[in-house]
């Protein structure tokens, strides 16, 4: 709640709207207590007095009634009617939407078609028809405005509910013995309330306008009772001769609706979880770089990551996602980076090409050398030229990386056209060749398919084809087979391995699966809480892990063919990267840890091809090197 208010206050327009609105509402509330003249007493001798006349601050109207008093009472009435209409529309509309979204199927279909029919009428016509049927009067205008706005709420809430009704906690509630009524009221309603509030905050201004519109036409409040719309209506005939009578209520409507809309937008932005998590601030094209230490070039291998540090700055908190990570990929080599979720492996991969979203991401140190040049801090133009051309990515979820509305062939051709000046026909021919190279059957026909028409394995092949489009030197593959079935995973891994040997590609392969690393990678680096804890040739690391974490993690992985058994676990959880322990990050979970482990950080000790970051390693990698 406090976070919500803070966010709201940070939005200046919303804060201004909120202040004006509360002032108007406060005035409306205290109106009966103020020493105002009676609003409905006519005095034709004093008609059309201009503003600032004695006793009439804002002048008088065509019947000599005090405009200030009528304005205050009218505002009070208009606000009350608008708010009441909004609440009625929200309650009925949300109830309809929630029921339709939860039950789905035929119920949903019938309810929503009726709502669609309501929406097919022009709203003001519908409101007029309702008032015509019920007869003029403020109450009836209120009913009409509420009825006209029900479809808006119903459709909004139904959309949200459909998404929620498919969630697992609804199934869990059914199994816990809750009936439909209880699920609607206790499980769904609390989750849609923020959406209802957002919808209300953006429509209440509109409803005040609509009520004023009906009153203006003489269908709302009846004389002598004043509301803002009827004041405007009555002043219309004197618009030219005595403009102040229409300007006063007109300005008030403007002020109310503007302030409500500004405030409502602020409420929406502050409540919407997507906007709250920073979607409002458009991420920059490349990660912000603010480095203290810049290692010297020119680097070693096709891609040399040196002492890379990437952090996320969220408010006062600093999340150290990547801490002094150094990795070098040689030509034609496959280097595996293995780690659990939150170990910083993906952020390392994204930092290479400046793809970490900024804000909140900041690269605070280190360098990434490619071809003798430092990619970190390179101008955006250079980065853009290299992205996808020399260094390409393959991501985990091919359904999310491919654009759903374009044919896969067009997306492949686009990737080629960005970097090469070739004709459309040539690009298409290359796209077909690429699809063939990733062994998609019927490539000529599949090139015109949309992503949803392909299976998961086929989509990931398209993702790989796209990465290969410009013959890159390095491919960074971020868990490319995690979302796939095992039989498909085996095919994709075999394909990647073939491609690497055919084309001399270097691959940085990020995964959490030791089996995959063992089969595909020449070398492996193990990450824990943002640091590399061990590195070395895959076979050696897997056969004789030196870091206690690596050893125990391997022990956790069940292997096929060992029958029923108790599995090893590592007690505890990885540390939160905004509160990292001073010394070894694994010390709190390590059974070999001594006092010193938790106190002082330790560098990665290198010995030949292997490296480990541990004071009391499981294997002495130095002596191993001697005997080898």
């Amino acid at each position: 709640m406090i976070a919500f208010l803070k966010l709201l206050a940070r939005n200046r327009m919303a804060a201004a709207g909120g202040i004006v609105l509360s002032f108007v509402v406060a005035l409306a509330v205290v109106t009966p207590l103020l020493p105002l003249q009676p609003p409905d007493v006519t005095n034709t001798a004093n008609r059309f007095l201009p503003p600032f006349s004695e006793g009439h601050l804002l002048g008088t109207d065509h019947l000599g009634r005090d405009l200030l008093s009528r304005l205050m009472w009218g505002t009070r009435l208009s606000l009350a009617v608008g708010a009441a209409a909004a609440i009625i529309a929200a309650v009925i509309g949300s109830a309809i939407g929630i029921v339709a979204g939860y039950f789905g199927g035929r119920t949903d279909n019938i309810i929503m078609r009726i709502v669609d029919m309501l929406m097919a009428f022009p709203y003001i016509l519908l409101a007029l028809a309702i008032v015509a049927a019920l007869g003029p009067g403020l109450m009836n205008a209120l009913i009409a405005v509420a009825a006209v706005n029900i479809p808006f709420f119903a459709r909004n809430i139904r959309g949200v509910t459909v998404g929620l009704a498919g969630r697992e906690f609804i199934d869990a509630a059914k199994l816990a013995g809750m009936g439909h009524g209880r699920i609607l009221a206790q499980e769904l309603l609390p989750n849609v309330v923020p959406v209802i509030v957002i919808a209300m905050s953006t429509t209440i201004g509109w409803m005040i306008l609509e009520t004023a519109g009906l009153s203006f036409l003489g269908l709302g409040s009846q004389p002598p009772q004043a509301d803002l719309g009827s004041m405007l209506g009555e002043a219309r005939s004197a618009l030219i001769t005595n403009p102040h009578t229409s300007v006063v209520p007109g300005l008030m409507i403007f002020v109310i609706v503007m302030s409500i809309n500004l405030f409502g937008d602020g409420v929406r932005d502050a409540l919407d979880p997507r906007l709250r998590s920073g979607a409002l601030t458009r991420p920059r094209p490349a990660t912000i770089v603010d480095r203290d230490n810049v290692p010297d070039g020119p680097g070693d291998g096709v891609l040399d990551i040196r002492a890379l540090e990437t952090q996320f700055h969220v408010g006062p908190r600093v999340y150290r996602a990547v801490n002094e990570v150094s990795l070098a990929v040689q030509p034609g080599e496959c280097l595996g980076v293995i780690g659990e979720s939150g170990s910083g492996k993906s952020v390392t991969a994204l930092s290479v090409m400046g793809l970490v979203a900024s804000p909140p991401g900041v690269i605070t140190g280190g360098a990434v050398f490619h071809d003798g040049h430092d990619l970190i801090g390179a101008p955006y133009r250079d980065l853009r030229r290299l992205r996808g051309d020399k260094v390409a990515y393959i991501f985990q979820d091919p359904l999310a990386t491919l654009h759903p509305l374009y044919r896969v062939g067009d997306q492949l051709a686009e990737a080629i056209l960005v970097h090469h000046r070739v004709g459309k026909a040539e690009a298409r021919a290359r796209a077909v060749a690429l699809l063939k190279s990733v062994r998609i059957p019927n490539a000529e026909r599949r090139i015109d398919a949309y992503p949803h028409e392909l299976s998961g394995g086929m989509r990931q092949r398209v993702g790989i084809a796209m990465a290969l489009a410009n013959d890159p030197e390095v491919i960074i593959a971020d868990e490319p087979t995690t979302a796939l079935d095992v039989t498909v995973q085996a095919q994709i891994l075999a394909l990647l391995d073939d491609l690497r040997r055919e084309r001399g590609l270097s691959i940085l392969f990020i995964t959490h699966d030791f089996g995959v690393v063992a089969q595909l990678c020449d070398r492996v680096a193990v990450m824990y809480a943002g640091r590399i804890v061990e590195e070395g040739p895959t076979a050696e690391v897997l056969a004789a892990p030196a870091h206690p974490y690596t050893k125990r993690l391997i022990a956790c992985v069940p292997e096929l063919g060992q029958g029923r058994r108790e599995l090893a676990a590592i007690p505890g959880l990885p540390p939160a990267v905004d509160r990292l322990p001073a010394g070894c990050h694994f010390a709190p979970r390590c059974d070999k840890a001594r006092e010193i482990c938790g106190q002082e950080p330790l560098p990665l000790a290198r010995s030949g091809a292997r490296a480990v970051r541990c004071r009391f390693p499981e294997e002495d990698i130095a002596s191993q090197e001697d005997t080898a």
């Binding site: 969630r167 009936g179 609390p190 085996a490 063919g561």
Partner: protein, 319 residues
Amino acid sequence: MTAALRLERISKTFPVGKPLIGAPRALVRAVRPVTLEVETGETLGVVGESGCGKSTLARMLVGLEPPSTGAIEIEGQQFDNADPAAFGRMIQYVFQDPISSLNPRKTVRQIIETPLRRLYGMNRADRAARISEIFDSVNLREEFLDRYPHEFSGGQAQRIGIARALAAAPRILVLDEPVSALDVSVQAQVLNLLARLKAEFGLTYLFISHDLAVVEAVSDRVAVMYFGAVVEIGSAKRIFNAPRHPYTRLLADSAPVVGRPLRAPEGKDTELPDPLNPPTGCAFAARCPRASDLCRRVEPELKPMEEDQLAACHHPLDP
């Protein structure tokens, strides 16, 4: 001994493209008739790839989805009304995604109380006592009770999900990929907890997963599903070492294993059958190296091979 769970030819057919009035455009058979028996105290593993119908089968077992045909019998009692509340006291479900299976706007206490209140109508004091008993057995501290789900890690949230399922005091737990959203170092914590709970409360498990190694490690028997049907069932010890169905062999060969060289275990352009346009005969025939004309014409039935191993194949592999 009576079987804890007996399925008699249950199947599920979903309509596709249903208009407001009239018949649907097509029918998809998500689960073909399945007949299974699970003994009391047994863990039956169910493996298969995405879309093979294992989750639909599980949802029918707990009454979240009415079966199109067939009958479900739990401890000798017939359940054919698809009422989750009636099933709830006998059989409970642990979901794949631990966070999404907990209502984000309810405290842990409210979540765990619900089955006690709705299924058993317990009063406040009884509920508090039962909750602290359950929390103790799943190794969660009682101070967690007043927190909201987003404050927990995946492993903790999954233990809360297990606690909720246990609160209903069921005889059978259906575990739908209970560890696939968790990291390996945490996965074993949850699996070992499940093994202990099973012994403590005398539970029967139906353990669904796509991870063969995990299924093998926790199950007594394993059923392999492909395209909506059980194609092989047998003891966990034997089924992956000596598979009789070629699909089981393919699955076992595909799992990445340390020390095994990388190779694609089957042709590179194979594709899954289309559920809207199912093949006649054996659904696996198009991917199977042993397929014959017979396979493409006649759908094989599940037949006993040896001991307690059954496979649905015209040309089974040698043991």
